[in-house]
């Protein structure tokens, strides 16, 4: 089972939201899409599940009843109880009564929501509501599970529980695509796609992305160019586009870099390229 998009372009009201994006999502693995607000993450997922039509490019997806989609708003109905939310989705996907009670009891139990089944979704904490949204997306055992920022605003303990549920789905063979704004979380996936301004600026495993970024990164006492410097706690990191630092500092080894450092380097590179292009 392999799903995804090839050469995807999406224009929204005449403005390009996504440009030439490729994404592969295979059964039994998790693909993460990472980027800030406005990078195009949600648009990509909405195209993948068929909620918006691409301007150009191809989308590979299973039949709609084989897709589970959790929107960034969690997709729960606040005025319904936890049990009613789950029942409603079970009916929409025409699960048999036996299957419905088996799946919902099992999933609510594993999401630690069983005791909350009579509470209104609107009264749940953010973490619980996101877990409920996940349960509703995965209830009908879809081949493709698409999760839009499942952990945004979710506390660390609930986030670990949510990741366990996501991993269980992938371990059972489901193809999972998810978005996040946080790189430490993106790194858990087997493959990561970094979006910036609607374009893919990096894609691959976290090991591959850590070892192949443009230029070099140093840890100077004082930055030679503040526009290319950032912090890791109290220490400074600086990116050098041509690989060598002007003050002769040695570049950091892969083991001393975080994934976030290398993505910042890539984004600075994009910024540099954009400014050279626009120069007369």
């Amino acid at each position: 089972m392999s799903f995804g998009v090839d050469g995807l372009c999406v224009d929204v009201a005449g403005v390009s939201a996504l440009s030439d994006v490729d994404l592969d999502v295979t059964g039994g693995s998790i693909v993460s899409v990472v980027g800030g607000d406005g990078a195009g993450k949600s648009t990509l997922l909405r195209c993948l599940v068929g909620r918006i039509a691409p301007t150009a490019g191809a989308v590979r997806r299973p039949a709609s009843h084989e897709i589970g989609y959790m929107p960034a708003t969690s997709g729960t109905w606040r005025q319904l109880t936890v049990a009613e939310n789950v029942d409603f989705v079970a009916q929409a996907f025409r699960l048999s009564a036996v299957e419905r009670s088996r799946r919902s009891a099992d999933l609510l139990d594993r999401a630690a929501l069983a005791e909350a089944s009579d509470r209104l979704a609107g009264d749940l904490s953010g973490g619980m509501r996101h877990k409920l949204g996940f349960v509703m997306a995965v209830l009908h055992e879809p081949d493709l599970l698409v999760l839009d920022e499942p952990s945004t605003g979710v506390d660390p303990v609930s986030r670990v529980e949510l990741w366990r549920l996501i991993t269980e789905a992938a371990a059972a063979g489901t193809a999972v695509a998810m978005t996040t704004t946080y790189l430490d979380e993106a790194e858990r996936a087997s493959s990561i796609t970094v979006l910036d301004g609607g374009r893919v600026i990096a894609a691959g495993s976290s090991d591959a992305l850590l070892s192949t970024f443009p230029g070099s990164i140093t840890a100077p006492e004082r930055a030679t160019d503040p526009r290319r410097a950032w912090r890791r706690g109290r220490s400074i990191r600086e990116w050098h586009p041509d690989g060598a630092s002007k003050d002769g500092q040695r570049p950091l080894e892969t083991a001393d870099l975080s994934f976030e450092d290398t993505v910042v380097a890539r984004m600075l590179d994009q910024e540099r390229l954009a400014s050279t292009e626009s120069r007369p």
Binding site: G36, P156, V160, W163, R188, E260
Partner: protein
């Protein structure tokens, strides 16, 4: 009054807050001094919001003592504070320039004392609701910093912004610290927590751990598993009751008993390389939370 620490910008001394029978904050002491960034972490319901409301003077403690700049939080102390809430506190149906003027007026400074990036300046006539979350966050920061506050309180300061914008926001937080401001940050995210000089972890209303990232992680280990099939190893370890986290195609098992983890894999007929490695901050938090 005892316990007030001289020189602390924010000082909670055995602060407790009860709502009826519920103890939301239970005997919490926390200090923020000039020139340091303190991170406040905890699960939902851990009591962070109640503690912050007490520290800001919006809620009185039932027991214990809370001070800002060595005195009871008031309107006067708030003039020396920069606060960026999760909701950012901007007016979406006003322009960038109007928001700047409003904030300048509120703090008794001139609008040009709120320094905006070139990017934000070029958008000064736009409605704040239309400039995107990343820029709204930069604007909220600029507005909170214009009156050169001695203390900054930031609620999930970089949630939703891209990594480069996040790096730049942290750069501006650090430069405030270098001119001796003190900062209190609440966050759910480990990347933000790791930018702090000192962390306070709350669980069930109490302080569960405190110190640098290194102090909190110190001595805690997990078992890293590289198995031929991560999914089979994940299922076998999950069935055996372990907390297992995915890391690419490898697994991390919250356990200090590498022999027992190996035994579970062998019993399931699975092969894998095992290594004892340092826990991450997130794994340490899970261990602290489940141990209580």
């Amino acid at each position: 009054m005892s316990g007030r620490s001289p020189g602390a910008l924010l000082d909670a001394d055995r602060a407790t807050r009860r709502f009826g029978d519920v103890v939301a904050v239970d005997d919490v002491s926390l200090r923020v001094r000039s020139g340091e960034i303190v991170g406040l972490l905890g699960a939902n319901g851990a009591g962070k919001t109640t503690l912050i409301r007490m520290l800001l003077g919006l809620l009185a403690p039932s027991d214990g003592d809370v001070a800002m700049f060595g005195t009871t939080p008031s309107r006067a102390t708030r003039q020396r504070l920069g606060y960026v809430s999760q909701g950012l506190g901007l007016y979406g149906d006003m322009t960038v320039a109007e928001n700047v003027e409003f904030n300048a007026h509120a703090f008794g400074i001139r609008p040009d004392q709120i320094s905006l990036s070139d990017d934000l300046t070029s958008l000064s006539g736009r409605l704040v609701g239309s400039i995107g979350l990343g820029r709204q966050r930069q604007l909220a920061f600029a507005c909170a910093l214009g009156h050169r506050p001695e203390l900054l309180v930031l609620d999930e300061p970089t949630s939703g912004v891209d990594p480069l914008a996040r790096a730049r926001l942290w750069e501006s937080i650090r430069s405030e610290v270098e001119r001796d401001a003190g900062v209190l940050v609440t966050t759910h995210y480990m990347e933000e927590a790791e930018q702090c000089d000192r962390l306070v972890l709350m669980a069930a209303g109490r302080v569960a751990a405190t110190g640098s990232v290194g102090d909190i992680v110190a001595g805690r280990t997990v078992v890293a598993v590289a198995a031929a099939s991560w999914s089979e190893a994940f299922s076998a370890l999950g069935d055996a009751g372990y907390d297992v986290m995915l890391a690419g195609r490898r697994l991390r098992v919250v356990s200090d008993d590498v022999g027992a983890v190996g035994a579970v894999l062998r019993a399931a007929g699975l092969d894998g390389r095992l290594a004892v490695v340092s826990a991450t901050l997130e794994e340490a938090m899970v261990a602290v939370d489940t141990a209580r």
